[in-house]
């Protein structure tokens, strides 16, 4: 009964979406306020209906209702509650239901908090959201219905793939989806602005918080995913340049560019058509990401069984959304007049350079990800593009980006003085070189690239600190005065600095975990010791342990340095009988200098075990960097000026008053 209710709510949501996508659009075109007013309640109704639908599916999972096909395929009565719930979105159909729920959440937020939006713009934005919803609802109802029943009802389910039974992964997809879908807001605003033919500072002010919110969650989502890969897969790596990972990186890069170009639209009323294009592309890449993940067209360590017919449907959806909006863009964009002029060396110029670098980086990832598909499509050889490709294309661009990020925020709007900025950054330059030299001294066997990476990271970190110190006038005036100035600094300035510093810190971690990484693999018998990175790992043996739905070989390692015990690590080899699959649970001890990482392999049948030990320097800083970046975004989001849906009327008046 409950699943039928969910199914019915989903069908109703589809019908409501049809109304939401058409009536307000018609109303906005005709200037009919009553038709436009349909948008708000329709968006709220969507959220309500989809929440009911999602709740019904969650209920089916929690009570293990095995008359629902999806529950049979992905759940089991003996599974812990957390994974019963996360099992709702750990599969194709359920994850789509989560996707549309996020979409409805954003739509409802516009309906509730967008009371100061011009009615026509609001109606059009919600109508475009409705169109996206129509596409996805149809996709679900016709090709991937989560509520299909099975008869006869099986006694128990097939269980969730054990590798997905992990707390990190329980939150990774919702975060990622919030990000993907959050960019739909920028997209809807862009399309609505194109229909209206008007993009101004106020428009940018409405778009930026949504983009920022999406970016924050996407950053967090990517970070969680990388972290999950790091400790769950037991390969000691966190990023494999896998198509599915790239699918989340591309919208992130485009979204980061969008975030920065929207600043220019807001402050300087220029770069408008570029920003609109970015908004369309960012969401387009989010859709592409969904397509790549859900269609299974690419080989990937993440690919799960899926159905090409569904891929075709998403491809159609993608073509309609991107093709339609780009056509609209081609027709309308030339009418968008640019405003403020600027010199090449200026804040605008630096932000533009940031955009170019990000867009280029995004393009290299795009080519690397889709080229194999393209070659396969035209009947060529089957190829794949591995990490070396990205190391030679993406990494130089990232280095250039990091370098520019250090300088950009210190340049003045309109016309900047590069020489003055560089002289203020002397200290950062000296610090960067010094850090690189120290790194070289400490890790003589490391590649030169690692030394350069450390230099770049310190450059950005120090430049950000110098910029921040300059803003609140460190060293000028009494401490109380400095404190007041620091507190008075807009939150967006703090947020930006935090995010940039986060990038620098993450770069430290990337260099350490990839370029200085060391590993050791051997067969160990209980009592034996292996040494790596200055630490001694003593294997104490294994014991049999049983968990709620698995049995486990529980290993024990005592790690010591110079005779003093540092940690006891307990890697596991688990076996999940329902799916008949083993999983590897790595054990990691995190310190500021390095992660000590042990994986238990297979027994060799003579009392020994294959053991893989990893030394991952600076790993902690990588995760800290991710957290700092998203926290920076969140702090910036909390700026009064940018508060979601509340661009102060005062601000609007100021914009209007400014001479064009």
């Amino acid at each position: 009964m409950i699943p039928e209710l969910g199914h019915f709510a989903l069908v109703l949501a589809f019908v409501v979406a049809l109304a939401q996508s058409s009536l307000p659009m018609l109303g906005a075109a005709r200037g009919d306020r009553r038709l436009m007013a349909v948008a708000g309640p329709a968006a709220l109704a969507q959220l309500l209906l989809l929440a009911v639908s999602f709740g019904a599916l969650t209920y089916a999972f929690v009570v293990s209702d095995f008359s629902v096909a999806l529950v049979v395929a992905h759940s089991h009565s003996a599974k812990p509650l957390l994974y019963k719930i996360s099992g709702v979105w750990a599969n194709h159909e359920g994850s789509l239901l989560l996707w549309v729920n996020m979409l409805a959440l954003f739509g409802a937020a516009v309906a509730l908090f967008g009371s100061n939006l011009p009615p026509a713009l609001k109606a059009r934005v919600l109508a475009v959201q409705g169109m996206i919803a129509v596409g996805f609802h149809a996709f679900m109802l016709f090709t991937s219905n989560p509520f299909l029943r099975v008869f006869p009802v099986p006694a128990d389910g097939n269980d969730l793939n054990p590798i997905l039974q992990d707390p990190g992964l329980a939150f990774h997809p919702p975060m990622l989806y919030l990000g993907y879908v959050g960019f739909s807001m920028a997209f809807s605003f862009a399309v609505a602005a194109l229909i209206e033919g008007k993009v101004d500072a106020a428009w940018a002010r409405w778009v930026r918080p949504w983009t920022l919110a999406a970016w924050v969650t996407l950053t967090l989502g990517i970070g969680l995913g990388a972290r999950w890969a790091y400790y769950e897969l037991g390969w000691g790596g966190w990023w494999f340049w896998d198509p599915v990972e790239n699918a989340s990186l591309m919208p992130w890069l485009a979204g980061t560019a969008l975030l920065h170009s929207a600043i220019v639209v807001e402050k300087r009323d220029t770069l408008k058509s570029w920003t609109i294009l970015l908004a369309i592309l960012t969401f387009g890449l989010s859709l592409l990401g969904t397509f790549l993940v859900r269609s299974g067209v690419l080989t990937s360590v993440h690919t799960f069984a899926s159905d090409p017919a569904r891929g075709l449907f998403i491809l159609g959806l993608f073509a309609a959304a991107v093709g339609g909006s780009l056509t609209l863009y081609a027709v309308r964009a030339p009418a968008l007049k640019g405003g403020g002029l600027f010199q090449p060396i200026s804040r605008e110029g630096a932000l533009l350079l940031n955009n170019l670098l990000l867009a280029t980086a995004c393009a290299t990832v795009f080519i690397g990800t889709l080229y194999p598909l393209f070659l396969d499509g035209i009947g060529g050889a089957t190829v794949s593009v591995g990490p070396p490709y990205y190391n030679t294309t993406f990494m130089p661009l990232l280095a250039a980006l990091v370098f520019v990020t250090g300088i950009g925020p210190m340049l003045a709007w309109k016309r900047g003085d590069l020489a003055a900025v560089l002289s203020r950054l002397t200290l950062a330059g000296v610090g960067a070189v010094a850090a690189a030299l120290v790194a070289w001294r400490l890790e003589t066997q490391g590649p030169i690239l690692a030394v350069a990476g450390i230099g770049f990271a310190f450059w950005l970190l120090l430049a950000t600190l110098i910029d921040l110190a300059g803003r609140f006038g460190l060293g000028r005036g009494r401490p109380a005065e400095i404190w007041r100035r620091a507190v008075g600094l807009p939150r967006s300035a703090w947020g930006g600095a935090l995010a940039h510093a986060g990038l620098a810190v993450a770069l430290l971690g990337m260099v350490g975990t990839t370029l200085w990484a060391a590993e050791n693999i051997r067969v160990m018998r209980p009592g034996e010791t292996t040494t790596l990175g200055g630490y001694d790992y003593r294997f104490d043996g294994t014991e049999q342990v049983s968990g709620p739905n698995y049995s486990s070989d529980f290993g024990r390692f005592t790690v010591s340095r110079g005779g003093a015990v540092v940690a006891v690590l307990t890697p596991e080899k688990r076996f999940y009988p329902v799916q008949g699959t083993p999983t590897t649970e790595a054990a990691i001890k995190t310190t500021a200098a390095a992660d000590l990482y042990v994986v238990l392999g297979d027994p060799d049948g003579q009392g020994g075990w294959t053991v893989r030990v990893f030394h991952r320097p600076l790993a902690m800083w990588l995760w800290l960097g991710f957290v700092m970046m998203s926290a920076g975004g969140a702090v910036s989001l909390s700026d009064r000026r940018l508060r979601v849906g509340a661009p102060a009327r005062r601000g609007l008046a100021a914009v209007a008053a400014r001479p064009a």
Binding site: T303, L352, L356, T360, P388, T392, I521, P582, V599, Q606
Partner: protein, 148 residues
């Protein structure tokens, strides 16, 4: 500065970064494209020994053996028409099993043994790497999977 001049600068910068990207991509593509072959294809053509590629198929039943050091594993990858011996030193993926799909990255030695540096096994029960499915279809040994 006039609007025209600014547009020119922006265009030049865009073209420059596009050019750099194109150069990077082309040079990287030339060196880093990894080709995929099935055992039959490998038997049919001669490949340069110094180039890494990916080999995919099924792990031949009964072919898995472990060397005395406990680390080195040997098995055969087959598309049921031809088989290639593979040697790999390291931990096998959790889902590596005889009779199931696998993709290995590595180089072919002059002795005809493929030395793998990376082994990719499938991630869930129903999944078959698309290249492996394709290879099996080519060799005429493909049995359509039961509908999920």
């Amino acid at each position: 500065m006039t609007r025209k001049r600014r547009r020119l600068y922006v265009l030049l910068a865009a073209l420059a970064s596009l050019g750099v990207a194109a150069a990077l991509v082309l040079s990287a593509m030339r060196d880093n494209l990894v080709f995929f072959f099935s055992p039959s294809e490998l038997a049919a053509k001669h490949l340069p020994a110094d180039r890494a590629f990916r080999l995919g198929g099924l792990v031949e039943e009964g072919s898995l053996a472990r060397d005395a050091d406990g680390l080195t594993v040997r098995f055969k990858i087959t598309d049921l028409t031809a088989a290639v011996p593979v040697v790999y030193k390291g931990l096998l993926p959790d889902l590596f099993r005889e009779g199931q799909g696998v993709v290995a990255l590595g180089m072919l030695g002059s002795d005809g043994v493929f030395t793998a540096s990376e082994i990719l096994a499938k991630h869930d029960e129903n999944y078959m790497p698309p290249e492996v499915a394709e290879a099996l279809k080519k060799s005429g040994q493909w049995k359509s999977e039961p509908a999920p």
